[in-house]
């Protein structure tokens, strides 16, 4: 099996390095950061922290170098999905492409370039230490399933889940992966947008004066999920409270707050913006998510 990881940042690197442990999987990585690509080709891709791994793989900044692949795993920031797929789609003419990105709306963009698409949601997280070296902060599960409008066959979904799991990234193949995705989306949208506007950590967002607001924002997300017939696999509110515990992630600065502080573009269109947009498509108003989207977009 040949797999190309598209966007080899922190999350992409976790998949790439772990999959590269398997004898029956050939791993490629496509990323635009030249020093990272050079380091991977010279010394391998190193993970440290929650697991110590060195993966041997081929990395490139040139999409034309990618051979035909059985699978793609897309791990770019959501605002780069379209450009990344435009460049790499040729490698997946006979393959299936799975998103493990944040939020909702990426599968729709992938399906504009690739026929067999897999919806995915991943929990593990990391950070770049230096070119070729990624810190593995959190282990966790990944849920994948066929993207309804342009699905990959279920046996391919299972094959990819099996490879990821054997490589050290526990992955569940589901007929309907929307429940996992929307649970994470609803949680993330509330935590990230409120944190980025107020400068507060996840744990502080879960406290007054923003606690009720966070819950109201999640309630809108639930209504939009309901309207699509999505059954959440877990309660986003419980996850919110769990993550807010002092011994879990009270002091964690959600990534959108980090983006805003660094003056970077945010993924707001794929989080609160996606909830508002999917809501509109299904006749559910989500005024708070819309307002948060407009505020965050105004900020940067």
């Amino acid at each position: 099996m040949r797999v190309a990881v598209i966007g080899c940042g922190a999350v992409g690197s976790l998949f790439a390095a772990n999959l590269a442990q398997l004898d029956d999987v050939e791993v490629w990585a496509y990323d635009l950061w030249q020093p990272h690509v050079d380091a991977i080709n010279e010394h391998g891709l190193r993970l440290s922290g929650a697991g110590e791994v060195v993966g041997r793989l081929r990395a490139t900044t040139d999409a034309a170098e990618l051979p035909r692949c059985d699978f793609g795993i897309v791990a770019t920031k959501s605002m780069h999905t379209s450009s990344a797929l435009e460049a790499t789609a040729h490698a997946f003419a006979g393959g299936a492409v799975c998103s493990v990105q944040n939020g909702a709306g990426n599968e729709e963009l992938i399906a504009e370039h690739v026929r067999e698409v897999i919806r995915g949601t991943t929990f593990p997280a990391g950070h770049i230490v230096e070119p070729g070296h990624v810190g593995w902060d959190t282990k966790g599960d990944t849920h994948i399933g066929p993207f309804e409008r342009s699905p990959a066959p279920m046996d391919k979904v299972r094959a990819l889940a099996d490879a990821c799991t054997r490589g050290g990234m526990p992955t569940h193949a589901l007929e309907d992966a929307r429940g996992a995705q929307w649970r994470k989306l609803i949680f993330n949208a509330a935590s990230n947008a409120i944190a980025s506007l107020t400068g507060r950590t996840h744990g502080q967002v879960a406290e007054p004066p923003t606690r009720e607001l966070a819950w109201a924002v999640m309630a809108e997300g639930r209504a939009v999920a309901d309207a699509q017939g999505i059954t959440l696999d877990m309660s986003p509110e419980e996850l919110f409270d769990h993550a807010a515990r002092k011994d879990v992630a009270y002091g964690h600065k959600p990534s959108m707050l980090q983006d805003v502080e660094a003056g970077r573009e945010t993924e707001i269109d794929f989080l609160n913006g996606a909830i508002a947009a999917f809501g509109e498509r299904h006749g559910v108003d989500a005024p708070l998510n819309r307002a948060l989207t407009q505020l965050v977009k105004g900020r940067v």
Binding site: E212, L213, D269, P287, R290, A291, L292, L295, G298, R299
Partner: protein, 314 residues
Amino acid sequence: MAIERVCVVGAGVIGSLYAAHLARCVEVSVLTRREDHARALAAEGLRISGKSDFTASVYATAEPAELPEFDLGIVATKATQLEEAASSLAGRSAAATLMTIQNGLGAEEIVRRQGDWPLVSAVTFMSGVRHGDTHVEYELDTETWLGAYAGTTGYERAREIEALLVGSGLRARSFPDLRPAQWSKLIFNATVNAVSALTDLPHVSQFAARDGLTDLGHLVFDLVAEGKAVAAAAGVELHEDPWEMNVHAVRRGETLAAEGHYAHVPSMLEDVRAGRPTEVDFITGALVREAARHGVSVPLHTAMYRLVKARECA
């Protein structure tokens, strides 16, 4: 009673603009918070640049007991410091008229708790930039709107104050009933200040942009709509449509920017940037409380209120 002696409480931007202009026509005393501020004003006078250009001499003190008698008191502190300012006037110049110019709603009740002075409510759209204790740049020479508060005095008094302000070179307009104007400004302020404080944007053209689906102007428009519903439920017919006020202010800002001036930074954003408490309790908070009193749902203003409160303590 003719107005010959004016006391200005608080020498921030707005207080300084009133004090300096009025000192050209009548006797003006200024009550400051800091003693060194009062000493600097006494020594150097108060310089105004920008729309006006002069230096006025004023009597200044940080000690309420040293204030001379006055006929008109202008309470020009931030809403957050109003209670302290009003209490420092307790028992003084009982016959004087006091004028409140704080943002939002509720200033008159706070002053009322400290004495039975006749009250005039005012809102001002003037703005300026503070360049030090004794120098304020007069930025926007827009009107002060005023009217008698709840029968404590009459329209005649408001007209006298209007004449005094206009005579001193400021722009002013009196109303038989200020509430329509006060509410127009409340809704405008609750919207523009909170959006600005959260986006870190000065009051710029994005506030009126509604072309794209996620343009900020949609939120501004929706916040104004919530505010108008509260005004309607409170039986207040607005003097001006706050959305139109927003569009006008943005256009005026564009003209100023084209002339090389900085875009106007609303006070709530200034406060957030400086790490100070904001006036959100008196502005957005006042609107949310009025909404609750009249049974109107204002989810967007409620969200903005919570976000600004959270940003204050971050």
